[in-house]
């Protein structure tokens, strides 16, 4: 038999994914694949205006259509529900958010009426017959305009400002007074985009009158958060809400905030007598009104540098645009501060951070959430300062990076970067792309008048949040720490079954969880069944369970590991009793009758079926002192966090810090202004790797999202708040034709903060956005242009280079040199 002497480690291997078989055969179970008896279909009537008062709603024509069961309006749900929880204190906390518009609409696409019918086609037809009279109001789509409060979205709040706070660390004024040079940057802007999962939101809800419970089958990606909001909103005990998810066709954070639609579907089911309601979002509904990523403007940035180009202080004013309703916000107002100095050593900083509502789609935690905006800002600062001081971009970074020997590194606001080696990543990336050769090629090309730029982006992917940071935005918020649950059991016939509270969307949790348990029990991963997909009834979730924020390798697998260890201890104890030996005489392995436990001294063994049999169906043989052995072990892992200092805004906000370093070489065509990637490298460090193939896949995926966002994907609004990119033909998600070949490199600096040395990863820190901006900037410095926006396509490059409308260095950047 195999024994612990010839133990094979599964963690660290590129094990093929357990998820693959069903997905390849077209047998995945996505939410829209579910069909139920008596099912009805819901279609939303949505606002064509960005900002308007609702004068009247007439639903009678729609209701008269044969096959229409009912309609639902905001006025009708108002007495049945509470406004959704607002995370913000006042003024943002005064905002009243309902899932159907009550008296006003505040963004184009906001749901106004729900039509419920026997078929999707009838619901579509009837929705056309709903008459809504609007009184149009001026829309405000620009964040800085919104903060002037000329047009207020939420009268009850009295202002468009949701939140404001100053994050100040070190001695900023002293740093500026001692600086050898000070660089001023007037304005930088991080654009609005969405990772647009290919599967849109889907909700099936049933408010069952028989047991007064609400059942959901959906693809929400943070259900434990959703049920907290839904329970309070619907006045329903949280235990009466059951949520199940199955295969999910991508989320990237965007499906976290589908709880308003979940609420409407439940209320519609209640009105329809408990029949299940299905709502399948269309692509244009998704693009206009599910969630977008946060847009951010950086104003009046001042950077203090010493004589060697080492940054000593950064002061700036950041304005975040969260769209019409805060929802998950204003958490983004603090989440960026997980990475206050980015990968750099400066100690002094003052960021005045404000968030505002505008008449645009509400934001949600889009891949790279809130940190990527800040990290992009820092990378722009570094490149602009390097240029102004005449220091090469790579050299500038080396002078400013946190040094490998400084880890664990405490940032100015008390975050602890667990491990990392940024200079080494730079070295690996340069080697892979052929940095020196490209420098020669660039010089030769520039002589011919070609616009070629080389750019470096260094970024962080902070994972496993301390939810105590919510108390920095709202001292009354009842959240802190982080935890995840898992259950590991031997079922009646000895099957190893693992259940976790995550709802993966392609991250391979079934595979990595099996790898971890296989190592604990010393069996083959094929012998382990992993139940993923959220189910409140599995009782393995905590209030933080879901799949978001780069954490499964740490929080999820720590819970799985803990549950497996508990099971192992029980199995050992039981086997020692049965085999009449001591526990330390027991070894785990696989024998002729499958996985078994064996007494080394006697050679006697008992297989998993034998152990499970005793506990589950043959328990009279168990002595009383063994009655606590259940072989059904639940474990809750808790992150070792403390509540941060709310006044000083100080404390450890995240457990692990994966890092990425990308380099791009880009050419801007002189005639068409189309930017074309000539070469690209991505180097990743996420500590000890559980499954290298899955990690590599996540890196490629995050790279595609970033390249798409940098060059092709933008949520564009016109001046009155019409969404101009509501279809994929307008939004143009990156395709196989646009995606360059990515050279992949990898280093490992194990995390001291997780049991396995792994770090959460997957979001990728938006490295390509920083990198492409850097490469374009390198090409354009000589043209007097500053890359002041995270989105750059042929049109914006033309406007900068020919129109001279945007990005003019003379207007944007000034340098003060001190003798």
């Amino acid at each position: 038999m195999s024994s612990e002497n010839n133990k094979k480690n599964w963690v660290g291997k590129p094990l093929p994914r357990k998820e693959e078989d069903r997905l390849l055969r077209g047998r995945g179970k996505f939410a829209d694949d579910i069909k139920m008896r008596e099912m009805l279909y819901l279609r939303f009537v949505r606002s064509p205006y960005a900002h308007a008062r609702i004068v009247s709603i007439a639903t009678s024509d729609a209701e008269a259509v044969a096959g229409v069961v009912c309609t639902l309006t905001g006025a009708e749900i108002l007495p049945q529900v509470q406004p959704f929880i607002e995370i913000a204190p006042e003024p943002g906390g005064k905002i009243k958010d309902y899932p159907l518009a009550i008296s006003k609409v505040r963004y184009q696409g906001e749901p106004v009426v729900a039509v419920i019918a026997e078929s999707p086609g009838i619901a579509d037809d009837a929705a056309e017959l709903v008459q809504v009279e609007y009184e149009a109001l001026d829309a405000v789509v620009d964040a800085e305009e919104a903060l002037k409060d000329a047009n207020i979205l939420h009268e009850e709040a009295g202002t468009n400002r949701v939140w404001n706070g100053v994050f100040e660390y070190g001695d900023v004024e002293k740093a500026f007074s001692e600086a050898a040079s000070v660089v001023h940057i007037d304005r930088l802007h991080f654009h609005r985009f969405s990772s647009t999962p290919l599967e849109a939101n889907v909700v099936i809800a049933q408010w069952n009158p028989k047991d007064e419970r609400i059942y959901y089958w959906c693809n929400n990606s943070f259900p434990s958060f959703a049920i907290q909001f839904l329970s309070a909103h619907l006045n329903v005990h949280i235990d009466r809400i059951r949520v199940e998810t199955s295969d999910i066709g991508g989320s990237f954070g965007i499906k976290i905030t589908s709880y308003p639609q979940m609420a409407v579907c439940a209320l519609a089911s209640k009105k329809a007598g408990g029949r299940p309601i299905k709502w399948v979002e269309t692509r244009s509904e998704h693009n206009t009104s599910s969630a977008h990523g946060n847009e951010r403007t950086f104003r009046d940035t001042r950077v203090a540098l010493d004589k060697d180009g080492v940054i000593t202080a950064i002061a700036s004013r950041h304005i975040d645009d969260c769209g019409a309703y805060p929802r998950y916000e204003p958490l983004g107002c603090v989440i960026w501060s997980q990475v206050v100095p980015g990968v750099y050593r400066f100690k002094n900083t003052r960021i005045d951070f404000t968030q505002t509502v505008t008449n645009k789609c509400p934001v949600g935690p889009n891949r790279g959430y809130s940190r990527m905006q800040h990290l992009w800002f820092l990378e722009r600062v570094v490149d602009i300062c390097a240029h102004e001081l005449g220091i090469p971009a790579d050299e500038m970074r080396l002078r400013n990076y946190i040094r490998p020997e400084e880890f664990p590194y405490t940032t100015p606001n008390g975050c602890v970067y667990d491990s990392g080696n940024y200079p080494k990543m730079l070295q690996v990336a340069k080697g892979l792309i052929g940095w020196d050769e490209w420098k020669k090629k660039r010089a030769a090309a520039r002589k011919q008048g070609r616009l070629i730029g080389m750019g470096i982006g260094t970024t962080l992917d902070s994972g496993t949040n301390n939810f105590g940071q919510s108390q920095i935005v709202n001292p009354g918020a009842p959240f802190s720490g982080n935890s995840q649950g898992a259950n590991c059991k031997l079922d009646i016939y000895g099957e190893v079954v693992v259940a976790v509270g995550s709802c993966p969307q392609g991250q391979g949790h079934e595979t990595t969880a099996a790898q971890v348990v296989a190592d604990v029990l010393n069996i083959h991963p094929d012998l382990i069944t992993v139940r993923t997909g959220f189910d409140t009834e599995r009782n393995v979730h905590t209030g933080f369970s879901g799949t978001y924020a780069s954490q499964f390798a740490v929080s999820g697998l720590s819970a799985v590991h803990g549950a497996a260890q508990k099971l192992k201890a029980e199995m050992k104890r039981l086997a020692a009793f049965v085999l009449e030996t001591k526990e330390d005489d027991i070894e785990f392995g696989t024998g002729a009758q499958g996985p078994e436990l064996r007494a080394k001294s006697t050679g006697k063994s008992i297989n998993y079926w034998g152990l499970a049999n005793i506990v589950n169906v043959n328990s009279a043989v168990l002595p009383v002192e063994m009655h606590d052995v259940t072989l059904n072990c639940r474990y809750i892992w808790r992150a070792p966090f403390k509540v941060p200092d709310k006044v000083k805004k100080y404390g450890n906000l995240t457990l692990t810090y994966a890092s990425q370093l990308h380099i791009a070489v880009i050419e801007i065509d002189r005639d068409t202004f189309i930017p074309r990637i000539l070469d690209y490298v991505a180097v990743d460090d996420c500590g000890t790797v559980i499954n290298p193939a899955i990690v590599e896949g996540q890196v490629y995926g995050a790279t595609a999202h970033g390249i798409g966002a940098a060059l092709m994907e933008s949520c564009v609004y016109d001046a009155v708040g019409n969404m101009l990119t509501s279809t994929f033909s307008d939004y143009t998600p990156i395709t196989a034709v646009n995606m360059p070949k990515v050279k992949y490199g990898h280093i490992e600096t194990p995390s001291p903060h997780s049991y396995s040395g792994a770090k959460g990863m997957g979001e990728g820190g938006a490295a390509p956005i920083h990198t492409i901006s850097a490469a374009l900037q390198d090409a354009l410095f000589a043209e007097g242009i500053i890359v002041d926006d995270s989105f750059n396509n042929a049109d914006s490059l033309f406007r900068a280079m020919v129109g001279k409308e945007i990005g003019q260095a003379a207007k944007l950047v000034t340098v003060e040199r001190r003798p």
Binding site: P14, R17, E19, E20, D21, L23, L24, R25, G26, R27, D32, D33, K35, P48, A52, V55, D61, V65, A66, G67, G121, I122, A126, L129, Q131, E133, Y134, E135, A136, L137, D138, P197, L198, E199, D247, I248, G249, G250, F252, T282, R283, S284, Q505, G506, G508, A693, G697, Q698, Y700, G701, A704, H705, T727, F728, T735, A736, V737, M739, K741, V742
Partner: protein
Amino acid sequence: MPKKVVKRKRAPKPKPAPEAAITAVPISVKVNGKTHSLTVEPRTLLVELIREKLDLTGTHVGCDTTYCGACTVLMNGAAVKSCTMFAVQADGAELLTVEGLEKDGQLHPIQKAFGDSYGLQCGYCTPGLMLSAFQLLSHNRQPSEKDIRKAIAGNTCRCTGYQNIFKAIQLAAQNVKGV
């Protein structure tokens, strides 16, 4: 302050009749080797026929507008986007969906290659991508990377960054015997 009042009252439209009353059109399609004779509304999309009437839910909908290719199926050997075709247009046609790729429980070499190359993550786009790959390999057994990129230009994948999909299709090209 309100600037203008816009009335959005529409002229009354003829009320749609319930589904059953709309003239149902009889069609016959052969899907994965099995012939189905049934009636559909004229407006029924091909993807609705496949998913809702035939319960073949491996074919997905991603964009509704022919961009993303999650709904790709083969019709008489050609890759088509079933979200932008009416079911009646498939009358008399032979369709292949993802469910028809495996044979006697064994994965088709294209399916196997996608799995072996980690060419999928969430798996939502995968059926459409494999059928586009099927079409490519049916007339080009030694595709260059450029050929592959072109062949799947109409299939959006939001998870993989396409890198492993290129590898998967190259691997499939080596292993496919007769597509």
